[in-house]
């Protein structure tokens, strides 16, 4: 079993536990923005896609990498944009009267 696997597993377990603890506290009010935000954060796979596409090792790996860059970056842009829009709609009673 490669050493990389063990260290990745270590990070995965800690991140998953931390994720459970933090996300458990997210108000049910915000479960839709939660999903769109985690989607946008998950789009960080774009960094791996950039490297695969940018290394340009084989024609196939470059093309697949480029599609992955476009797909994941669209998630990053769209995910943050819609989360931002949704959260902007959540107002308290006072703020609603002002607007």
């Amino acid at each position: 079993m490669p050493a990389d696997f063990i260290s990745s597993l270590f990070v995965f377990i800690l991140a998953a536990f931390l994720g459970f603890e933090v996300i458990k506290r997210v108000s049910p009010l915000l479960h839709t923005p939660l999903m769109s935000l985690t989607n946008a954060l998950d789009a960080i796979v774009v960094v791996a896609a950039i490297i695969i596409a940018g290394r340009a090792e084989t024609r196939l790996s470059t093309i697949l990498g480029l599609i992955a860059v476009a797909a994941s970056f669209s998630n990053m842009v769209g995910g943050f944009l819609i989360t931002d829009r949704m959260l902007g709609m959540f107002k308290t009673g006072k703020a609603v009267k002002k607007s």
Partner: protein
């Protein structure tokens, strides 16, 4: 002291980005700090992308930049969709996320093939299988939510056996590749089988189970990204994937609990199968109905009104009229709250977003567990476009297909009003005894039109 290498600086940026991700989710705990959470998430992601562009491994830029521009061009319209379309947009973004994770895994495989070490082969195989099935599964879910595909569950005899065989086939192919990496032609076969499994997984699920499915796919998309992190030894992917996976998993559990169903039940037993037994016992019972004028008079005399919105309200585009009703009642000094069932809407939290969009203050949107204790002191429970989540049979009738599902206890309010087009049964095809109670008034009509009439009657304008 030696200077940092470019790679180390990039890795430091990734560590900072990972911290940003965790803070983003932490600040999402309350609407007050949530905006700050999104901002830190944006900064963290932007930093990581920028740093990666300086990675010495990246040798060609032109096409990468073009792909980023294309991605942004697709992302912006997907970020601007209407709030009613957010569930299908979300399903589509699960598909995109899973697609990119799968494609990167596939590219890694073909760069190394056929000399892929056993352990890496297992990682890549598993990652590509999960990514592929999440991709097609999410596309089907998006198609169902967009109503391009049939909403009702599609079921046939022996379905579970067929689906499980397909999944097993994909895993067996992966294991063969681990043992015999020279059989490279099996890799695309494995991908094909996984793609088919994704379709088979979501096709039989529909209707009321969509919020659970979308959460499950969320969690698969996250875990496929985390697995990709294992393949590439990229810790930032492991962290982001673990957070996304955990979030999807928590939401799936909440959705399942809200429907009193187990994971396996959602995955393997479509709702459609139980309907037939329940439909048999419909007898002729009388209901009381009321006009907008009568209903408005009762509402005006109330001290406390709880509105129970369902997806039907959003379909009828009635949320803005509901806001006017909220304003009208509040102006008369009546306490108005909204009772939100966890599965109201088509994805977790969807109803809150729809009401927030209509400028209803979020402190008036109350979760099921918090509002249920208030119904006995409620003068009027006004149900708009909701059905199964108010069905008292879920508490009492062990024969009911929804028995045991937690519901909003609207039948404990002094008066129950139900705005409904007709007496037709709800989405799950189950009759609702609530409608035959003495305290229940049926308000027949289109949600938007009827609420509009209520608003007019309340403002005294009657329009005779």
């Amino acid at each position: 002291m030696t200077a940092f290498t470019a790679q180390q600086l990039i890795d430091f940026t990734y560590i900072v980005a990972a911290i940003g991700f965790i803070l983003a989710l932490k600040w999402l705990s309350s609407p007050v700090t949530a905006m700050r959470g999104v901002l830190i998430g944006e900064i963290a992601s932007g930093m990581a992308v920028l740093a990666t562009l300086f990675d010495p491994q990246v040798t060609q830029y032109k096409w990468v930049i073009i792909a980023l521009v294309v991605g942004a061009a697709i992302g912006v319209p997907l970020g601007m969709v209407k709030m009613t379309a957010v569930p299908q947009r979300t399903a589509l973004s699960h598909a995109f996320g899973a697609l990119s994770a799968a494609l990167i895994g596939i590219a890694e495989y073909y760069v190394a093939a056929p000399n892929v070490p056993k352990f890496e082969m297992a990682e890549i195989g598993l990652e590509v299988i999960i990514g592929s099935l999440t991709f097609t599964g999410s596309l089907i879910a998006a198609g169902k939510l967009q109503e391009i595909l049939r909403q009702r569950p599609i079921v046939y005899k022996g379905q579970n056996l067929v689906s499980l065989s397909i999944l097993s086939a994909a895993i067996i192919l992966m294991l063969i590749l681990v043992v015999h990496p020279e059989y490279t032609y099996l890799f695309p076969v494995m991908i094909g089988v996984a793609l088919v499994f994704g379709i088979m997984l979501v096709m039989p699920i529909g209707g009321a189970d969509m919020p659970t499915v979308i959460s499950l796919l969320n969690s698969y998309a996250g875990f496929s990204a985390a697995l990709l992190g294992f393949v590439l030894n990229s810790k930032v992917l492991v962290v982001a994937g673990a957070l996304d996976g955990a979030s999807g998993f928590i939401l799936s559990v909440i959705m399942c609990k809200a429907m009193n169903r187990s994971f396996t039940n959602v995955l393997f037993g479509a709702f459609g199968q139980v309907q037939a037994s329940a439909a048999g016992v419909t007898e002729e019972r009388t209901v009381r109905s009321a006009s907008a004028e009568e209903a408005a008079a009762i509402l005006a005399a109330a001290n406390k009104v709880v509105v129970v919105p369902g997806y039907g309200m959003a379909v009828a585009q009635a949320q803005h009229k509901v806001r006017e009703l909220f304003d009208g009642l509040t102006k008369k000094g009546i306490d108005v709250k909204f009772a939100i069932h966890p599965v109201a809407g088509r994805m977790p939290g969807h109803m809150n977003v729809l009401l927030a969009e209509a400028d209803i203050p979020y402190d008036k949107l109350v979760d099921m567990d918090d509002i249920n204790g208030e119904f006995p002191q409620t003068d009027v429970a006004l149900i708009i476009g909701a059905n199964d989540v108010t069905n008292p049979a879920a508490r009492t009738d062990t024969a009911s297909p929804i028995y045991g599902m937690p519901i909003l206890d609207v039948d404990k309010a002094r008066t129950v009003m139900v705005i409904k087009r007709s007496m037709a049964v709800g989405f799950a095809g189950i009759d609702n005894p609530l409608y035959y109670l003495d305290r229940t008034l049926m308000l027949f009509g289109d949600a938007k039109g009827f609420v509009g009439n209520l608003v007019r009657e309340l403002s005294g304008g009657g329009g005779h």
